[in-house]
Amino acid sequence: MNRTDVYTMGVDVGASSVKTVLMSYGSGEHPEILFKDCRRMRRRNPSVVADESMEDALSVAGLELKDIAYVASTGEGEMVKRKRGHFYSMTTHAKGAAFLVPAARAVLDLGALHARAMKINDEARVLSYRMTGQCASGSGQFIENITRYLGVSLSEVGALSLQSDHPERASSICAVLAETDVINMVSRGVSTPDIIRGIHESIAQRLVKLLSALKADSPLVLTGGLSRDAGMVEVIRRKVAEDDLGLTVLTHPDAIYAGALGAALWAGWRHFKLQEKASAAS
């Protein structure tokens, strides 16, 4: 089968941003990423943000929508107007993570509203999963709220956390309690790095519980928005080691795109499957 010049697109609509990946299947077996984009929603309609991101992808690649063999959405992407199919986010994150780190046997998706740990096999199939409870303490949105309160930008968070000498522990039970802890820490003059590190530790404590309940196998790949927070990654590594979970914790510069990437890969799988069916019928 000639896979040359087959393009697919994956659009991952998350709680705070839209991620888009354009892939080319080219002539090789391994498809490659032509374009990737992460765009904050900033209270705009997700469908409009997704449209803008898709337009940029096409423009950068010099393509038109008709050139894309299959557009797939994931996450909350069912409202993406120009999609052809929708794939569930657990399977897309698994697929995307395994593409980035083929040895991955567990994935920890650290999104804005929830964290989800998955156990996967060598074909990126999800074998079991665990999610955080209803409380938002284990979520990226919580960190975002705290950074706003502390007056630092999201991109600074990782580096600040790594500077901490004496992390201040915040509540790991409830985001509202943790936020109260932070207000109290500020009034006591606790340094920003120590506050942020304390938050990272409280979140990591919950995540490690998820991984332990899942009986996750190694290596573990972190995906989602928090996977590029170096402070968070470092604390997860440390907690995983302290709890003796026997997991190597990996991340990847493109891990934030895992959902969109997985959607683009599932889009390719679906496209070639449809093509096979069509040629068998003729």
Partner: protein, 429 residues
Amino acid sequence: MSETPRIVKEKSMVVQKKMLAAYYKGLASTGETGQKVVYTFVPGNLTELILSFGAQPVYPEINALQSGMRKKSMEFIRQAEKMGHSEDVCTYVKCDVGMMLKGNVGPTGETIPAPDLLLCSYTGCFTFMKWFENLAKMYDCPVVMLHVPYRSAGEASPAMVQYVVDQLRTRVIPALEKVTGRPYDEERLRTMLGLAAQAEDDMVYCFESAKNRPSPIDGYFAGVYYIGPIFTAFRGTEECVTYYRSLREDIDERIARGLGPITPEGQIEKEQYRLVVEGPPNWTNFREFWKLFYDRGAVVVASTYTNVGGSYDLGFRHDPAHPLETMARYCMSCYTNLSLPQRTAVLSNYVRDYHADGLLVNSIKSCNSFSAGQLQMLRRVEEETGVPVGFIESDLVDPRYFSYANLKNRLDSFFQMLDQKLTPGESDA
């Protein structure tokens, strides 16, 4: 102007609504009829005994959940919180207390009479004792306590049965005699227990019909309607027998025609997932909650909540030949009085016997007697059966704990996991 969609209801639901309306009307007229009123709890209820004395039972949890379904619970809860009840107190209690403070106007708009007796059947829920302690003061009413031993070792031993029988004989029956002015009528009680057993046979048949593919019923969302008559003021009556016989006939017809369950938006055309659910449902957003399931073709084939009043799965039926012993055994059989290993076994057996694809736990924020141990049970069932498990959280009648986005988000993941198991390789919506 958009039209309000027509809500589809099963025949049995319509019948039950009429039964409940008549029940509440009957309660409202006890002032005129002179009938005595006994408040008691659903788990391990002694309905036949109360009815045999010609008294009317009132179940505060039923009033609370009915108020929840009719969007009236929030104002009652607020009222109780104003009085000093904490946010963490069981929301059934607060709903009940708030309702009383607001004039005891029940869910149907009719006044619920004050109790002449509070019969506290303690079946593992510590809150029950505190609840009736409060009501005893508020209504200035006598309380009779029935201590039902917890089945920590599994089965109910002969000594445990005797312990409950002794309490019935020496405390509960004398208290009922005193309040109603009538002597204990064992023959009348035997007749009622015989009727109870007939209804129980038919009810078990109805729930076990979910072993069919497709299941003709939803054993949780519709199941809570099906348990209505048997766990409230009707068990032991001809009316109850008629209700379950009619329900059984309806279900038989659905099985013969290969039909799936009826939901508020019509029949489920394609049974996509077969689930077992642990824990009570959310009442304040009941239809919205159910819709999250039926929109995905998810059918609950078995649920533990339908054993809340008493369990019939292991063959228990009321035995008119031994009236007090059978009531003692019944009290000890209610689901929250079972030990955690027994509850786990119930769940694992459901998964296997009903060919379920997954187990979902709805953990109730304010109900410790149901929620304690659920995570451990969930892990154990996962190990024993290998099916995917999911965990969601909501509350009984406090709408503040119902978070649609959180529930949907978690259910989405659960359904994705089921898809992975059911159709490996395929993953699209």
